[in-house]
Amino acid sequence: MADIAAARQALYARILAGTGHSDPAQRRAAFEGTSQSQPARELLEKIRLHAHRVTDADVQQARAAGLTEDQLFELAVCAAVGQAGRQFDAALAALAAASGKE
């Protein structure tokens, strides 16, 4: 069986706790989907829920609010990984409930 557990944890550790252009607390909020007060809130919300609806204007708005491109890059990665991770964890929990094993 393929086992992504270690690689996934390494990815999480890098994007959330490693060095970057954005504050780790901002990255954590983007990852967890709790960035209500962030300047890129609308952009990050779209990335989480329906990324195909992101527009140039969303990105411009985040830039205009003072975020650099490197900060946007990092926060977008955190939002995408965080949401995909929650979907993955929810599905694993459903599998454990159905099968009685982890």
Binding site: A80, A84, Q87, F88
Partner: protein, 193 residues
């Protein structure tokens, strides 16, 4: 792409690599390559390790099966770039374009085995509704898919539910079919790591 750093912000060594890719392939560098090579220590390298294990690690699913899963997850995210990319890899791995097209056109009538169909159905639901329930998993297990196979399929979904979001957020350009097929050939031969 919406961020200019992803087009022009790479270091000199990476820019040199892009020149080599352009010369060797005869095509522009795909936007996915530009993404994973930008500050690769932040995203490209750690995500590559996840994707390599999911797509090429040990599994009862074939490489072609997992590429089909990637294409279905991408389509469920309305990501045209990723759908075409992994359709192309699946076509090359299977040697059967019609089957890949049928899966993406109508999963319920496509000529594939019941366990793969049931798995793709679950991945589609997970990707569009953001969750699945124990009942979905019980149905999947009852269709003959093993616990390990389900976990392997979920690993594929994690990778492509991430990548498809970024492709759309950053607005990857759709390349020519020749460029996409060349990229797919590389992925099939060399993997994601």
């Amino acid at each position: 792409m919406r961020l200019s750093i992803l087009n022009h912000g790479h270091g000199l060594a990476t820019k040199a690599l892009f020149s080599v890719i352009r010369m060797a392939s005869g095509h522009p560098v795909l936007d996915i390559i530009k993404l994973v090579k930008y500050r690769a220590d932040f995203y490209g390298k750690p995500m590559g390790a996840v994707t390599q294990e999911a797509m090429r690690g040990p599994s009862a699913w074939s490489v072609a099966d997992r590429e089909l899963m990637a294409a279905v997850v991408a389509k469920s995210n309305t990501c045209a770039f990723c759908t075409e990319a992994h359709s192309s890899v699946a076509r090359q791995a299977l040697g059967d374009s019609a089957r890949v097209a049928a899966v993406l056109e109508d999963l319920e009538t496509a000529p594939i085995d019941a366990p793969l169909r049931a798995t793709l159905r679950m991945l589609k639901k997970l990707s569009t509704e953001h969750s699945v329930h124990a009942a979905d998993m019980r149905a999947l297990l009852a269709s003959g898919v093993s616990h390990a196979q389900i976990k392997d399929a979920l690993a594929v979904s994690f990778a492509f539910n991430t990548v498809a979001r970024l492709a759309e957020a950053f607005r990857f350009e759709m390349p020519t079919s020749g460029a996409m097929d060349a990229g797919a050939k590389f992925l099939l031969a060399r993997g994601y790591g």
